[in-house]
Amino acid sequence: MASVAQAIRMALHYGETNLGVKDIFGQDVGAPLGGVFTATQGLKTAWNSPLDERGIIGMAMGIAMGGDKCVAEIQFADYIFNTIDLLKIAGNTLWCTNGQVQLPMVVMTPVGAGIFGSVYHSHSFDAWASRLPGWKIVMPSNPLDAYGLMLAAIKDPNPVLYLKSKALMRHKGDELIPGEPADEKELKAMIDKPVQNAEGWKPRWPDLEEYIVPIGKGKITHAGEHITVVTYSRMVHLCDEVALKLAGEGISVEVIDLRSIYPYDWQMIKSSIEKTGRVLFVNEDTEVTNFGEHLAYRATQELFYQLMARPRVLAGKNLPGIGLHPNLEKNSVPQLNDIETAIREVVAEVP
C-alpha cells in the first residue's frame, strides 16, 4: 500500500500528466530532494523556489492569474503565517473583481503535531484556514483520500488549501489507489528515489487512474448508534481506535471523517446526530477559537431539541506552542485516553 506521501506524489504526477499542472514548486520541492517529506520526488514540473513563503504564494497567484495551473508548497504550515494576507487576497480576488478573476491554484502544506516537532513543527492551521473565505480547505486522513482530494483540488476552479498531516506522511491505508501495484515493494522500487546513488534516477510511474474525492463530502469510518464523533486528518485514526475499543463494551460510536473543512459535509453530520443524539468534535488545533466550535454552535442551533447531551469540542490546549518533550506534546493535543474519556462523558450524560 502507498503511504500518504507516495499518494500525494502519484496524484501530482497524475495532475501534471493529465490535468494540466505546469508548476509544482516551493522550498526544496524540486530535485535533488523532492520535498522534505518526499511527496514531490521525481515530478517533471517540480522546482525549487527561494526560501520565501510570501514569494511562493504571490508567484502561485500570478501563475493562476496568468492562466496556468500550479501546486505550491509551504514547507511546514508553521511558516505559512507570514502569508496570511496573501491567502486572504487569493480568497477574495474572485469576489473583489465581481467574478472576473478566478484563481485556480492549490497550496499544500504539512500541518499538526505527532512527530515531536516542537514549537515550530507542530502548528495546526485548520481553524485559521476556515477563516479564509473564498478558499476550499481539505485535510485527508489516508492515502486514497490524499490522492482523490488532490485530484479534486487540482480540478477545482477556486483556490484550494490542502492540509496534510505531518504525522500521517508515512501512514499506509488499506485501500489501493486505482492503478497502484498491489505489492508495496514494487511500488517503492518504481517511485521512491533511492537513498544512495540516486544520480540520474527517474521514477517509473504506475498506470494511474482518475479518482476524485469530492470536496465537501465526508465519510463514515466507523458506524455507530450512541454518539457521533466528528473529526478529520490524524485524529480520525485515534477516534477509530477508541471506537473499536468501546464497541467491546457496548458503546457504539459513529466516527465521521470530515475530509473537507470548507465546504464541510453538514448533511452527514446532521443525519448522524439525528440518529445518535450526541456529538463530540475532535481536532488538534487550539481550542480558542476552534473550527469545532463553529460546528458545535451549528449543532446547537439546528439540532438542539434532538440532542440528548451538550455538544462538546475536544481540541488542542490554548497554548503558545507544543513543547518538544513527549510529556509536553501529549498534554497539549488530544490523545487516545482524552478522546475515550470525552466520549464516555458525553455518552453518560443524562438530559
Binding site: P50, G55, M59, G62, G66, L94, W95, N98, G99
Partner: protein, 369 residues
C-alpha cells in the same frame, strides 16, 4: 519649484541633449519638431499630442473623482494626479490584450493615467468610485482606482501595499513559458518598497538562468502617507537595490513624458529581447497629497507634469493655447456627463454579497450546505 521655472528647466535639459539616434528618427517622423530647440527626443508630433491629450484626460478625470468625493457622492478618493507623465507612456507602449501573449499590468491605485491610455472610459472610473453595480472592475465592491480589466490583462488592484510585485513574477513566468515575448509590468510607491514583497520580486525575477520578463517600476513621489523619503530610506536610489540583484536599473524623471516614453520603450524592448527583468525608478509629483485621508488638496509647489508638458508643446508651436483649452473643456464636459450618468445607475443589492465568493456562486453561505 514654480510652474514657470519648471518649464525653463525642461527646455534647458532637453536642449542640452543632442540625442543622436533620437534626432534621426525625428527627421523621419516630424520635420517640424526636429527643427525646434526642443526636439522632444524625436517623438512624432502626433504622438506628443496624443500623450498630451491622454494626460489631460486623466487629470480631468482624477479631478472629477476628487469633486465627486468632496460632494459626498463617494466614500474615499485616492489616485494619480501628478503621475500622468509616467502612466500615459506606460499604457501606450504596452502590448494590449488578453492572455499570455500580451503584457500584464500589476498596478497600484495611482494608475489612472495608464488605464486612460489603455482606453478606459471616464464613466468606468466614476462608476467605481461611486460604487455602482455597473462598475466593471469590482461591481461597487472596492475603492477608487482599484481597477480590474481582464480584457487588457489588468490584474485587480489591491489595497495591501506591494503585494502586486511577486504576482507580476507569476504572470511573467507564464509569459516566458508561452514564448511570445510578452512581459509583466508592476508599479508601486516608494514607501512600499520597505515591504518584503518588493524584495521577493527582485529575488524571483533575477535568479540565474531563471530570469523573468518583468518590468519592475517604482513611482517615487518621496512620501509614504506622511513619512518623507529620508524617513525610511538609507539607499540613495531605490534603483540601486535592483542593481544588487544584477537587474538593469535606471532612475528617470517621471514628470517628463518624453524622457519616460523613451526610457520605457528602451527597457521594454530590452526585456522582450533578452527575457531579463529591468527596473525603473520614476520621480513623480504627488499633486493632491496621499488621498482623501489627508484632504486631497492641490500642492501648488510641486511640478505639475501636465501643465509643464502643455507649455512645452505650446512653446514649440506644436499645440496652440486655444486647442489646449478646448481639450480641457471637452474632457471636463465628458466627466460631468459621466458623473450624471453614473448617478442614475443601479447600486449593488444587499443579497449580492453572496455572489462570487466561489466560482459559480456555489457554497458561499454555510447555512445552505
Amino acid at each position: 519649484m514654480s510652474k514657470k521655472t519648471t518649464v525653463k528647466a525642461g527646455r534647458k535639459s532637453a536642449a542640452k541633449k543632442p540625442a543622436k539616434a533620437a534626432a534621426k528618427t525625428a527627421v523621419k517622423t516630424s520635420k517640424k519638431a526636429s527643427a525646434k530647440a526642443d526636439n522632444f527626443g524625436g517623438l512624432s508630433e502626433d504622438l506628443l499630442l496624443r500623450i498630451h491629450d491622454l494626460m489631460v484626460k486623466s487629470r480631468v478625470l482624477e479631478e472629477r473623482l476628487i469633486k465627486i468625493y468632496k460632494a459626498g457622492e463617494a466614500y474615499f478618493w485616492i489616485g494619480g494626479p501628478g503621475e500622468e507623465a509616467f502612466g500615459v507612456p506606460l499604457g501606450l507602449l504596452a502590448r494590449k490584450g488578453q492572455g499570455p501573449a500580451y503584457d500584464w499590468f500589476h498596478l497600484h491605485y495611482r494608475c489612472t493615467p495608464t488605464m486612460v491610455a489603455l482606453g478606459m472610459n471616464m464613466v468606468d472610473s466614476i462608476r467605481l468610485i461611486m460604487n455602482r453595480a455597473t462598475d466593471p472592475s469590482t461591481g461597487g465592491r472596492n475603492f477608487a482606482n482599484h481597477y480590474c480589466f481582464p480584457q487588457w490583462n489588468v490584474a485587480p488592484v489591491t489595497s495591501p501595499i506591494e503585494v502586486q510585485y511577486p504576482l507580476a513574477c507569476g504572470t511573467a513566468h507564464v509569459q516566458k513559458r508561452f514564448g511570445k515575448k510578452a512581459l509583466s509590468i508592476v508599479t508601486g510607491g516608494d514607501a512600499g518598497t520597505a515591504e518584503g514583497d518588493f524584495a521577493s520580486a527582485l529575488i524571483l525575477a533575477s535568479r540565474k538562468g531563471q530570469e523573468l520578463p518583468v518590468l519592475i517600476t517604482v513611482q517615487n513621489n518621496k512620501f509614504g502617507i506622511s513619512t518623507p523619503f529620508e524617513g525610511q530610506h538609507g539607499e540613495t536610489h531605490i534603483a540601486d537595490r535592483a542593481k544588487a540583484f544584477n537587474i538593469r536599473a535606471r532612475v528617470i524623471n517621471g514628470n517628463d513624458p518624453v524622457e519616460t516614453y523613451l526610457a520605457l520603450q528602451e527597457e521594454m524592448e530590452y526585456i522582450r529581447k533578452t527575457g531579463n527583468p529591468s527596473f525603473i525608478e520614476a520621480h513623480v509629483s504627488r499633486l493632491y497629497g496621499h488621498s482623501s485621508a489627508d484632504g486631497a488638496n492641490k500642492k501648488a509647489h510641486l511640478v505639475d507634469p501636465v501643465f509643464t508638458f502643455e507649455n512645452r508643446l505650446i512653446d514649440a508651436g506644436i499645440l496652440s493655447e486655444k486647442a489646449a483649452k478646448k481639450i480641457w473643456e471637452i474632457y471636463e464636459a465628458e466627466g460631468v456627463a459621466a458623473q450624471e450618468q453614473a448617478r442614475t445607475e443601479p447600486v449593488p443589492t444587499p443579497e449580492s454579497v453572496w455572489e462570487n465568493v466561489y466560482v459559480d456562486s456555489e457554497n458561499a453561505d454555510w447555512r445552505k450546505f
